[in-house]
């Protein structure tokens, strides 16, 4: 399906738009899941979407359509004009002429789009069988699935800028339940990549199985403040919440806890964070949604905040360069791309070796409800392990961990070396926090 791009830009001129842009995306996906070794669900999709913006009388209008018919260009232009007419803010409205250089890489791997469904079913059956055979306490493989997706998009604007992208990725997930007496625990893992060769079945099975089994026999610890180590995945979730405050618009509107913190510490000296959207992985992107080229840059250097994230609009207000972090929703917001927490040389074992009594958090729940990224206060359901005499001890469940993000990051004592790519766009190792409030019994 195609939208008549030429017609859209002709109409934009006819409607006296100062500038306009059009992003058209095409998504294909295939999902497959098994239950008790039978295909339980299969889905396939093929969809198109166009987002168009235009500047009319100095204001932005936005329209979206999935109806790619003859009337689509006219629908978009009319609705852009209508919505632009309503806007009252005095923000600068800018459509970008283009960056001097784009670091485009071919990340599309056609091997991901397999078209060999029986082979994928067989793969899932093998994983399921291995999970069931792993330990007699594994009593059900609640869900196991495979997904592959392909995305093609073109962004063009009335200044002649045209940026194209094509990516493909796949993921494999499994959730199991393990039972011991009346106690039931779940184990879950998702593996996602752009290269099928990276999938290691034995490792995946072991991680899913151990995730559930290691939780059996769990206790609630005594409520108090403990030295707290946090595994890479939950730490990346806390980091993501903290760094929503980087958007320069939030800073300009006094609603970010990083107001006045540029070139000031926002974490202890142990934390260095580098954004690298150009690294070849599932998060690769060489330009943002406004067409600004992305680049590798240091966000936090030894605890010091090096930059806010700027869209075209907020960059103009602060008279700086945009940072290539614009993401288009109802309006453009600045969001961090793929970022790496600089690891140390210390293993997790060594990092916790001096803790007499502490907690190691491996899982957090309810971040949408128990996390207030504005105030930084959080109180979250957690799972993990006791640390006793420098070693991991009993599993913990139904505990909460509470604190304040700013205080927590300032009290970050150590970073380990067990870095892993997390599915929220961070590459993060385990860390150690001086003390956090843990509630149990």
């Amino acid at each position: 399906m195609k939208i008549n791009e030429k017609k859209f830009f002709e109409l934009a001129t006819e409607y006296k738009f100062e500038a306009a842009d059009l992003s058209v995306s095409h998504e294909y996906s295939l999902n497959l899941s098994l239950f008790q070794s039978e295909v339980d669900s299969f889905s396939e999709s093929d969809t198109y979407r166009a987002i168009a913006r235009g500047i009319y009388n100095g204001k932005f209008g936005t329209a979206v359509t999935e109806k790619f018919d003859k009337e689509a260009p006219e629908f978009l232009v009319k609705e852009i004009k209508e919505t632009a007419t309503l806007i009252e803010n005095e923000d600068p409205s800018i459509i970008f002429k283009g960056s001097a250089k784009y670091h485009k890489k071919n990340v599309f791997n056609k091997e991901v789009i397999s078209n060999n469904i029986p082979a994928k079913i067989e793969l899932l059956k093998q994983i399921e069988a291995k999970l069931r055979a792993f330990d007699s306490r594994i009593n059900e493989v609640a869900s196991i699935g495979y997904e592959e997706s392909m995305s093609e998009s073109t962004m063009s604007n009335s200044y002649g800028l045209k940026l194209k992208d094509k990516t493909a990725a796949f993921s494999i997930y499994a959730e199991i339940t393990a039972k011991q007496g009346d106690e039931i625990k779940t184990g879950f893992k998702v593996f996602a990549s752009m290269d099928p060769k990276e999938f290691n079945m034995e490792k995946f099975v072991k991680e899913v199985a151990e995730d559930a089994l290691s939780k059996l026999g769990s206790i609630q610890c005594k409520s108090k403040k403990y030295p707290t180590a946090i595994a890479g995945r939950p730490f990346a979730q806390l980091l993501a919440a903290y760094l929503t405050n980087l958007d320069a618009e939030e800073v300009q509107k006094n609603s970010s806890m990083f107001v006045g913190k540029l070139h000031q510490p926002i974490a202890s000296k142990k934390l260095t964070l580098i954004e690298d959207p150009l690294e070849k992985n599932i998060f690769f992107s060489y330009h943002d949604d406004e067409g600004v080229a992305t680049s590798k840059k240091t966000i936090i250097n030894k605890g010091v905040l090096e930059t806010y994230l700027y869209t075209l609009k907020t960059a103009k207000i602060d008279n700086v360069e945009p940072t290539g972090n614009g993401v288009l929703g109802a309006k453009i917001q600045a969001t961090l791309g793929y970022s790496i927490v600089k690891p140390s040389k210390k293993s997790l074992g060594r990092m916790i070796s001096k803790i007499h009594e502490g907690v190691y958090i491996t899982n957090l729940e309810g971040l949408h409800a128990g996390m207030n990224a504005k105030s930084g206060n959080f109180s979250l359901q957690a799972q993990g392990f006791m640390i006793k005499d420098g070693k991991l001890a009993e599993p913990l469940s139904l505990i909460t961990v509470a604190g304040n993000l700013y205080e927590m990051f300032m009290n970050l004592k150590e970073v380990a070396n067990d870095s892993e790519l997390q599915l929220n766009g961070f590459n993060s190792p385990s860390v150690l926090i001086k003390r956090l409030s843990i509630s149990g019994k």
């Binding site: 329209a63 009252e88 409520s223 509107k253 128990g370 206060n377 509470a402 304040n404 409030s437 509630s439």
Partner: protein, 465 residues
């Protein structure tokens, strides 16, 4: 639009390899979003969503696909691709389709799309102004309206065509209060399956804005919440999210049918305190989570889930009902054509009991009053749930005392329901979005004020004294 004969052709293509059920779901939806920030219109978007999903079932297997190509050719291709997953012969042939009338039980007196944008904006600005003027400590305000009209066509191999039109709207009020290095937020989000008259007649936006700002300002003064196990009084309205998380999700057939719920196999058994009566009611007139029919064409239903603490019913869709030998009870829902539908909640609530909210507070010596909550989540297999408090206070000697911030409540659903020891008589419902396998859908949660005699409270303020 697909003609009857074209639809028959698509259904038969889907059934050609042995599927025992085929269904086409077509959606044509226009959404409008307006947002006011600090007194000025900050964003406005109009979006058109259009596409179709084809679902084929064969015994306990389901196959689903979706596309924006809603032409006969597009859907026929999709049905053929999907049917290649089955290897049998056609056993069911469709030769005719009948239109089944869908009665609209949720009147829209002033369809939102027909209300001039200026009128909607003026309404939002009233709320935004009250929040901004509440205090110099309010540093940022937002007032938004999202509404949509969704025309649905559902055609299935039972031989029926259903045409339904859904219209929903929701107002958002958000504010940020700041003082020194502290920052707190306030939020309110009323909505309904109704026209703009709902906001004009039933929502006093200025009063709501005042409450929203007051809550954010109050939290600036709050101390950190103490932690540990304690009695908790949970406020009415959005407090019902506790039942939604602790019980509702685990009653959905998607978990029950595979024995993956803590409540599987427990029909007729005591799963909650005898004080608890609970319903899921998709028929409430103009309810945020209401529908005329569900996404399998079954009429929505008022389902008694729990009577005097005894489990009476699950929430069942036709497909998962196959594993349970139970027909669907109107609980099959999806976000859009991009999701395969499954069993979900609609408007779920604990019914009124006999205590007054004042009696409940008075009967509590030392504990937490969670006046309003801001959502939560659950693992249906273990029943472990959590939710966060947006406004909470300590109760001392039967009186509501100092406000506390940063509180979360966690527990196991099976346990917490048994520990409800007082149920109030001030039932109220509140609106939320519920995310699960078939996407993010509008649902109401609700309850009167209730007390749980012991629940684990997480916070950063040490032990409650």
């Amino acid at each position: 639009m697909l003609s009857k004969s074209q639809a028959i052709e698509v259904l038969n293509a889907g059934l050609s390899t042995g599927a025992d059920y085929a269904e086409i779901f077509i959606e044509d939806k226009v959404s409008y979003n307006y947002s006011i920030e600090n007194g000025k219109v900050d964003s406005a978007t109009i979006g058109q969503s259009y596409g179709a999903g084809v679902r084929l079932l064969c015994k306990n297997q389901s196959i689903y696909g979706y596309t924006n190509d809603v032409s006969k050719k597009g859907l026929l291709n999709l049905a053929k691709t999907l049917s290649a997953s089955f290897k049998g012969k056609q056993e069911l042939v469709i030769d005719s389709l009948k239109i089944k009338n869908v009665k609209n039980s949720h009147p829209h007196l002033r369809p939102q799309a027909e209300v001039p944008s200026e009128e909607k904006i003026a309404y939002l600005k009233k709320g935004d102004k009250v929040m901004r003027e509440a205090s110099p400590k309010i540093v940022r305000t937002k007032a938004g309206l999202s509404h949509y009209k969704n025309n649905i066509t559902l055609i299935n191999s039972k031989g029926f065509i259903y045409k339904d039109s859904k219209e929903r709207g929701r107002v958002y009020l958000m504010c940020i209060a700041a003082e020194g290095n502290k920052m707190e937020t306030g939020f309110a989000g009323p909505g309904a399956s109704a026209g703009f008259e709902y906001f004009q007649n039933q929502i006093d936006i200025e009063k709501l804005a005042k409450e929203t700002a007051t809550s954010a300002l109050l939290m600036l003064t709050a101390k950190e919440c103490p932690s540990g196990k304690m009695p908790v009084v949970i406020g009415n309205g959005f407090g019902g999210v506790i039942f939604h998380e602790a019980c509702g999700h685990a009653l959905e057939a998607s978990a029950v049918s595979k024995n993956l719920s803590v409540f599987a196999g427990k029909l007729g058994q005591q799963i909650a305190s005898p004080l608890v009566n609970a319903f899921d009611d998709g028929t409430i007139v103009n309810g945020w989570g209401s529908n005329n029919i569900d996404d399998e064409g079954n009429p929505t239903h008022r389902t008694m889930l729990i009577k005097n603490g005894i489990l009476k019913s699950y929430l069942v869709d036709d497909f998962n009902g196959r594993r349970m030998n139970t027909p669907g009870n109107g609980a099959c829902r999806r976000e859009s054509y991009k999701y395969e539908p499954t069993s979900r909640m609609s408007n779920t609530y604990i019914d009124n009991g006999s205590s007054t909210p004042e009696e409940i507070i008075k009967a509590t010596k030392l504990g937490l009053y969670a006046k309003s909550l801001n959502g939560g989540s659950v693992n249906p297999a273990t029943g472990e749930f959590n939710f966060g408090c947006s406004e909470a206070y300590i109760i001392r000697d039967g009186k509501i005392c100092e406000p506390v911030r940063g509180a979360s409540l966690i527990g196991s659903g099976a346990e917490v329901l048994m520990h409800i020891d007082m149920v109030g008589n001030d039932l109220a419902r509140a609106q939320g979005m519920c995310g699960a396998a078939s996407g993010s859908i509008p649902t109401d949660v609700g309850q009167p004020t209730i007390r749980v005699d012991e629940i684990l409270v997480g916070g950063n303020g040490g032990i409650l004294k």
